[in-house]
Symmetry: none
Subunit: 253 residues, 2 copies
DNA sequence: ATTGTTTCTGAAAGTTTTTGATGGTATTTT
DNA sequence: AAAATACCATCAAAAACTTTCAGAAACAAT
């Protein structure tokens, strides 16, 4: 049973998505290729983010919503410090709009205990804050994306039109001189509506995102009021940000 | 039955989340690994904060899941059987609207694996289904109620106006000859809009609810198409339901 | 068609990680 | 205090992973 390379990889992908977890041996069986070949396929599919390699086989990467495996670049210590800095900017009684993402989730964690009104389209953030008695929580509905657990699409955009908050806290996939980027068209569409709803935009990110763009263009730099980042950021980028009239907070870690 | 490392750990996590507490011996049994291995897994999961190790086993450390308290009268076994009966009525590919509540949550659990479109305003249900690759999940937004984790209010009602599904699955606080009741005005308001969105209304409940009303009137009996209940229901009530032209499914337990 | 080039494949050797078992230490129970 | 139970550290075997290499297959150009 000989198979084309792409055909085989497609087939592996389907099996993994279907079963959730597959062992390497199972794949050898059902695809009819050698161990080495399957390994290489898994390596490739993991590289493009379609699956997650695990010892002994592969797992569907859609399950990665839980903190089970968080392979972001910032260490969790760094991330927590950056998140703390953002949380400190929020005054009691404020209305805050929060985008999804692991960094904003960490911010949410630091907000616990404050008296606030929080609006979010992120399921993990909602989970975290729903039982905080001091926090009024409003959920933005829409189609839920498995990987990240955020609500997107027409419904989300429509709901956001009737929202007005003091601050928006958002994270991005990339920043260049031209502006901000994120990885997904639907995500960007929803986030653009978020800008309309907020008086002030705070971007939380890590220093590795500077200089990199991503699939979808989000907005020009001047849409942003404030950027909070770890101290890995270069002097050049500090200049770029400040010259664009954006307030910059660099968190020492 | 040999299991992949990550698969096993995820499986342990699920068991712990589900039961609240599990002994080490139980885990050895149900995942089929040695004491050492389970210990190491627990150590790891505790390390990343997903569970709490305790002498003799592990406990769930979760932020939200356990806080949706289960104050229903039905035993969990009974409830699961009733939920199973409801889940069996749903055909693949269907669009289902699901209300919040511990019974409907159990139904959601039984729906896992089916290919479906699910619309819900319940945070716990969304959590449960968001990582099911076969399920398209749409979240209804609104103000989140801490105790139950459901989204209610004007936003929820508005969002529901653009929803159309085959079936609505709903639970109630009380049933009398006059109709259905629930405990909260906002809840009722949202649920009334749900009726508009569905072709067929299925009520899941336990037999103790018959003859009791509650704070807020929801709808007359003839709004309902189908009631599923445990076998504690009296003959008198069976008559009432059938005479109202409602299909009745009594689940033997 | 043939030759040279590149990519893909399967096998083997060597390295790392995981696993279950064992014996010893802590903690709880009787 | 003794017994029972649970925990921890260590170790050799097993399983899984990486690297490397030579042959096969695909591709391009003559």
């Amino acid at each position: 049973m000989s198979m084309l390379l792409d055909e085989r990889r497609e087939s592996i992908l389907k099996i993994v998505e279907n079963k959730g977890f597959v062992s390497l041996v199972d794949l050898m069986d059902s695809v009819g290729a050698s161990e080495s070949t399957i390994r290489r396929d898994l390596e490739y599919l993991d590289g493009i983010g379609q699956i997650r390699r695990t010892r002994g086989g592969a797992a569907y990467s859609g399950e990665s919503l839980s903190t089970f495996e968080d392979r972001s670049f910032m260490s969790s210590r760094q991330k927590r410090q950056v998140a703390q800095a953002v949380a400190n900017m929020i005054s009691p009684g404020e209305a805050v709009l929060m985008d999804g993402g692991t960094t904003t989730l960490e911010v949410a964690r630091q907000l616990a205990g404050k008296q606030l009104q929080v609006v979010t389209n992120s399921l993990p953030i909602a989970n975290l804050l729903v039982n905080q008695p001091q926090i009024d929580l409003m959920l933005i509905g829409g189609f839920l994306f498995p990987k990240t657990g955020v609500a997107l699409g027409k419904t989300a955009v429509e709901s956001l039109k009737s929202v007005h908050v003091r601050r928006l806290i958002i994270s991005v996939g990339g920043i260049t001189e031209d502006g901000l980027y994120n990885s997904n068209m639907l995500l960007v569409e929803t986030e653009q509506q978020m800008f309309e709803a907020a008086e002030e935009v705070i971007v939380v990110t890590d220093s590795t995102k500077f200089g990199h763009s991503a699939l979808a263009y989000l907005c020009p730099l001047d849409t942003v009021d404030h950027i909070v980042v770890d101290d890995g950021i270069t002097e050049e980028w500090k200049d770029v940000i400040r010259k664009a009239g954006i307030e910059l907070t660099v968190v020492e870690t």
